[in-house]
């Protein structure tokens, strides 16, 4: 029942967000974990994640080189083709040089659509960066208020924070059930991804139902527990493939996973300041430095899932993740944990991926037994 609903939402992500617009909601597309959704939500809008697509790029190639990567190219292509016309606006950031370029391109080529920019530092340490991080967030609020035509109401923001925190707690619960194998990996992934495409209130309801029913669909005990890492995993065929190869995901630190939802906002004190604090302190993404807190999150997640190996699903041209992989691989090696990197361009080359995953699973199983 719930799985059917998740399937429907994820089978056509854009259509799911279009439906929200048809319902009269002001829908805002964004694509970075440093976009403070609480502010958008509190302004009465619905933030949804721009997932991009694996579709053939047509118009965007006149503006972006191939090495800008599939995510930015496909999002811009959708924008140019009018496929995002139902969105009231788009919020971009400096999460990569390509996504930052997208902001310039959006302003130049899609002038009818509001585009906001979250321009926070990449360096998450030092007094100055902390102050600038805060003021960049405040500038984003100003952009939102100008666009929304009213100011951000602290009471609304408190309500939004509560909704988002509940969402995070439920997702964390799902992650712990994944670790104890009381929730199927693919159901877990669907549950997380669907949350990017609907109002969080509705998602909370769905998660509650899902968690109530959890415990019935356990993964087979002989499946090898693995940790999955990477900036984004939207290819829903990957986890079934993993299972066919004799393994399952028992933990993850995906950008479209636990890195997104792990940290809560404190519900006491000034709500604006608390939201800013949360984003400053959250598990950092690969495009933020220092990387140590991310490594700690990675290790902790891997430990709770009792993973025997790690697979890094790295988007082609996602330079930040590509630099990190050899570092994480070597650190894991020192702990006796093998790892594999799979290159993705949204979709994992399935036959090639299957062979590589199969070989990897066999090697890890050989070490474990």
């Amino acid at each position: 029942m719930i799985q059917a609903e998740l399937n429907e939402i994820l089978s056509d992500p854009l259509e799911s967000t279009r439906q929200l617009s048809r319902e009269g909601r002001r829908v805002i597309g964004y694509c970075d974990n440093y976009v403070p959704e609480e502010f958008i939500h509190a302004m009465g809008m619905v933030p949804v994640r721009l997932m991009g697509s694996a579709e053939h790029i047509t118009l965007a190639d006149s503006h972006l080189p191939i090495f800008a990567g599939q995510l930015s190219r496909s999002i811009f292509d959708q924008g140019l083709r009018g496929k995002l016309g139902h969105l009231a606006g788009v919020v971009l950031s400096n999460s990569s040089d390509a996504i930052r370029t997208l902001f310039d391109l959006w302003e130049r080529h899609i002038p009818g659509q509001w585009v906001g920019l979250v321009d926070v530092p990449a360096v998450l340490q030092g007094e100055t960066n902390r102050r600038v991080f805060g003021s960049a967030m405040l500038r984003f609020i100003e952009q939102l208020e100008k666009f929304g035509g009213h100011s951000l109401d602290p009471a609304e923001l408190r309500r939004s924070i509560a909704v988002y925190n509940e969402n995070r707690r439920l997702l964390k619960k799902a992650a712990s059930l994944l670790g104890s194998r009381k929730l199927n990996a693919d159901t877990y992934l669907d549950a997380v991804l669907s949350g990017f495409l609907m109002p969080k209130e509705r998602h909370n309801g769905l998660l509650l139902q899902l968690l109530e029913n959890a415990g019935t669909g356990q993964a087979g005990p002989d499946l090898l527990p693995l940790h999955i890492s990477g900036p984004l995993l939207v290819d829903r065929s990957f986890l079934p493939l993993l299972e066919q190869c004799g393994a399952t995901m028992t933990s993850e630190d995906l950008g479209t996973g636990s890195r997104y939802f792990w940290d809560e906002v404190s519900e006491t004190g000034d709500p604006v300041a608390q939201v800013i604090d949360r984003y400053w302190n959250k598990v950092p993404e690969s495009y933020k430095t220092p990387m140590e807190p991310r490594w700690l999150h990675f290790s902790a997640r891997l430990g709770t899932g009792n993973a025997k190996g790690a697979i890094f699903v790295v988007e082609r041209y996602s330079d930040e993740d590509q630099y990190d992989y050899p570092i994480f691989r070597d650190r894991l090696q020192q702990r006796g944990i093998p790892s594999l990197q799979l290159d993705a361009e949204f979709v994992l080359e399935s036959e090639q991926a299957r062979t590589r995953v199969q070989t990897f699973v066999e090697i890890v199983k050989g070490r474990v037994s």
Partner: protein, 411 residues
């Protein structure tokens, strides 16, 4: 109109460039041997600070370019790739990581006896995010302190909050350098370094301006060889004498109507870092009465003028005002004003697989200069250091067709 010989340097002083480069790397080794601190730095770091504090700024990027120019980049790129670094990553970083993780930075087979070991790593996001990630990978190996100077992209003029962001971090960097490297910041020395930097940058920019003359006194190949002191030595006195001589010679050439190429017919601009392993690409073109006389890489990436009546503001402005840190609109505006000034007939965009931030926005710029100025452009897909990304045949065919088009347009 007189001409100079085709194969030699157009400006005699350009022959000094190789010596300056050699001296720099030898000085770096000596500095370390004497027990003084070395920082590995990257493009657009606050260079004047290092020279004024007695910290030798070592540029692995420059070293990678040297490795590329002696046709050895591929072996080090492959070394890095074997160790898990993707071949899509910046080739300067792959060369550097290949050296570090392969036979090491002291391998006697390396130019200038290798690269001195860093006592500290300092980088910045001004030109790109990649530098930050590259330095994190280097830190993993050397386990030395790392400092990153952050910055967001700009539209000119630089905004006050961006300036304060920059300066705030510099104020944090100084005591860290003092405590980690055992050096001392003295404002008078720093201001002196700014003066030297500004003087050198002024000479360099004047030199570039002489190239607006028809015929142009010096082409891209030669100027790419001359830029190094501007990259690595601003704040020291060394670049000043060199640039002064280059400028004097260039001015004389302009006065005498002496061009760098015979019978100059077509003038071109270049965007992005050159292909260091194939600077011949420029000279092959220049053999055909064509001159590359403008480069964004040489004009807007390294040296900028500073109004030293307000030195800290000027220092921040200068370091943030960098092509790679420009928005697309800013890049377009700049090209629209420079192309007529340099009387360019065409523009070549190097779609550099490695320096992605440089390459973003090129397509919009090409459309803008065609639409607004009627100046056509050509895209060459390649890489600044990794020769595997360069297709000689394809590039030559494209360049020939482009030249034909420009010649037909000129008739």
């Amino acid at each position: 109109m007189s001409t100079q010989t085709k194969k030699g340097r157009a400006l005699n002083s350009s022959y000094q460039a190789g010596n300056i480069l050699k001296e720099y790397w030898e000085d770096a080794a000596r500095h370390q041997a004497e027990g003084r601190p070395i920082a590995w730095v990257s493009g657009n770091v606050p260079i004047e600070l290092f020279w004024s504090m007695g910290v030798f700024p070592v540029y692995p990027e420059n070293y990678s370019a040297i490795i590329a120019s002696i046709q050895r980049a591929q072996e080090f790129c492959e070394e890095a790739e074997q160790r898990g670094f993707s071949n899509d990553l910046c080739s300067y970083s792959r060369v550097n990581l290949g050296i570090i993780l392969g036979k090491g930075i002291k391998d006697p087979g390396l130019p200038f006896g290798g690269i001195p070991r860093p006592d500290m790593l300092i980088t910045t996001r001004i030109p790109c995010l990649i530098q930050v990630k590259w330095w994190e990978a280097v830190r993993e190996f050397f386990k030395v302190p790392l400092f990153v100077v952050d910055a967001t992209m700009i539209d000119l003029p630089v905004k006050e909050h961006q300036r304060q962001h920059y300066l705030g971090q510099i104020r944090e960097l100084i005591p860290i350098m003092e405590s980690k490297l055992g050096v001392r910041f003295q404002e008078d020395k720093f201001l002196e370094a700014l003066k030297l930097s500004d003087e050198a940058a002024g000479l360099w920019l004047d030199l570039l301006d002489t190239r607006a003359a028809v015929p142009s006194p010096v082409g891209s190949r030669e100027m790419c060889g001359n830029v190094f002191p501007l990259v690595a030595m601003l704040g020291s006195s060394r670049p000043i004498a060199f640039f002064k001589q280059l400028l004097e010679e260039a001015r004389e050439c302009v006065k005498a109507g002496k061009g760098a190429v015979e019978n100059e017919k077509i003038r071109l601009g270049w965007d992005n870092i050159p292909m260091w392993y194939n600077l011949k690409f420029f000279s092959d073109v220049e053999d055909q009465n064509i001159i590359f006389t403008y480069e964004t890489y040489l004009k807007y990436v390294w040296g900028g003028r500073m109004d030293l009546s307000d030195p800290w503001t000027a220092f921040a402005n200068k370091h943030l005002d960098v092509w790679l840190n420009y928005s697309i609109d800013q890049r377009v505006r700049t090209l629209l004003s420079d192309i007529p000034k340099f009387k360019l007939d065409g523009f070549v965009f190097h779609e550099n697989h490695s320096c992605k931030r440089f390459a973003m926005g090129q397509k919009d710029a090409a459309v803008a200069i065609q639409e607004k100025l009627g100046v056509p452009s050509l895209f060459i897909h390649s890489d600044m250091a990794d020769p595997r990304a360069f297709s000689e045949g394809q590039s030559r065919v494209k360049m020939e067709a482009f030249i034909e088009l420009l010649q037909a347009k000129k008739k």
